[in-house]
Amino acid sequence: MNAVRFEHVSKAFGTRKVLDDMSFEIPKGQAFCLLGRSGTGKSVALRHIIGLTKADSGRVFVEERDITTLRGPQLGDVRKHMGVLFQNAALFDSMSVGDNVSFPMHRHTAWRAADIRDRARAKLAAVGLEEEFDTMPGDLSGGMKKRAGLARAMALDPSILLVDEPSAGLDPMTAREIDELLVKTKQGGTTLIVVTHNIPSARAIGDRFAVLDQGRMLASGTIEALDASEEPLVQAFMHAQGGG
């Protein structure tokens, strides 16, 4: 069974085509990395999976449900199975870190407040932030925000975790810590969909990869297949940043 499937998805903003007849499948339990330079449509593809952006044509399936036709509560039901780690973590800055992690549980479960608090503490402990439960997001470093964002994304133990640029703006050591957390999450059976332009990070996390350019998929497959690709742009990209 596929976790996510794109069928001939196209999207344009004004006259600029961002996704151009894109099709791919992501099997359950795998880590899929969408690679490409900035502005090639990676994050837009991710937004289509969450249902934050609607395709102009084509269909997007999440766990075999066509989300291009879903609205309101039906779309909400699908989203409850997904966790999202945004590029800048997007923590709710009016709430403490603990409340950020508790928030999805308060909204979508009937658990008692004390249980939610314990579970939120456990989620924060899993990313090494157990001491920061009452800290406000504004007082965290970039790496800590990412980890807190990951804890919130994992609050409801989603079957699919979407991650937008996990290493953006982080030093190499912190980026590595985030990568390790994502690998651990994948080992727990969660399907990972990671958007990145950081090749070493993608190599550490991914099982399957796709390289995008100008909204089109240039190549896809395992890391070996991409390394062996004769497409010049794919070669240039895969061997950039010491990635090869």
């Binding site: 039901d77 590029q87 800048n88 997007a90 709710f92 800055d93 999805p104 909204r107």
Partner: protein
Amino acid sequence: MSETLPRDVIPQLSVVDRVGSRALGVCELAGAIATFGAKAVVEAARPPYEMREVLRHAYEFGYRSAPLIITAGVAVGVVLSMHTRASLERFGAEAMIPAALAIALIRETGPLIAGLLVAGRVGAGIGAEIGAMNVTEQIDALEATAVDAFKYLAVTRIIALMIAMPLLTIMMDFAGILGGYVAETAVSGMSWQLYLERAFNYVSYADIILATLRTIVFGYLIAVVSCYLGFTTRRGTEGVGEASTRSVVMASVLIILSDVILVKLIFFFYPVVSA
């Protein structure tokens, strides 16, 4: 066009073009805000009702605005009392000062000034807060958490301000009357009891109720405009600042315009109030 029309016509056309384009822009914005406000009304009737958020915002908007409203009310009352005295003294009608002040405050000055103050304090805050959430992807994060961001952020604030606004107006009215009393007693030594008696001699319940309920519309307009501008914020922190400023300006203009219409409607349906 420059090849077919005389050269001297072009600047005028350019002005017409610009004015027309600006007018269309204003119509488009008004339409978008009206659609946003109508959607809020529809969504407010649908579960989940987010009562906790509504009460939290009502408390924040009401309680936190109260010191400003009371201070402004007292000051307005003092100033109105001094002006009223200066005018009525000429006709030997000083005894009417409390009544004139109460009528002016309760019917018009209190609701209008409370509306404008809340537009400045709460409207700017809503525009900036939701705008900042928008540009930092927090609204997307809410949606991704399977929460209806429109309902959670906008509808709750709109209902909360519709609740808080009449309460703040009542505070404004009574603070104004208190301020008027302080000014009056300093000059004439009038007692509080006599002042109140004279103040409410010419004020009916209809005056108080209709004027105060009018501010529910002010609350709705302030919150709808501010939420709309917050939700449509672009261009990072610059856009957040712009959303905040535009919220205050647009809400203030809408309050004044709607006040004219509402007063006319009240006079039409309840002629006794205008007497």
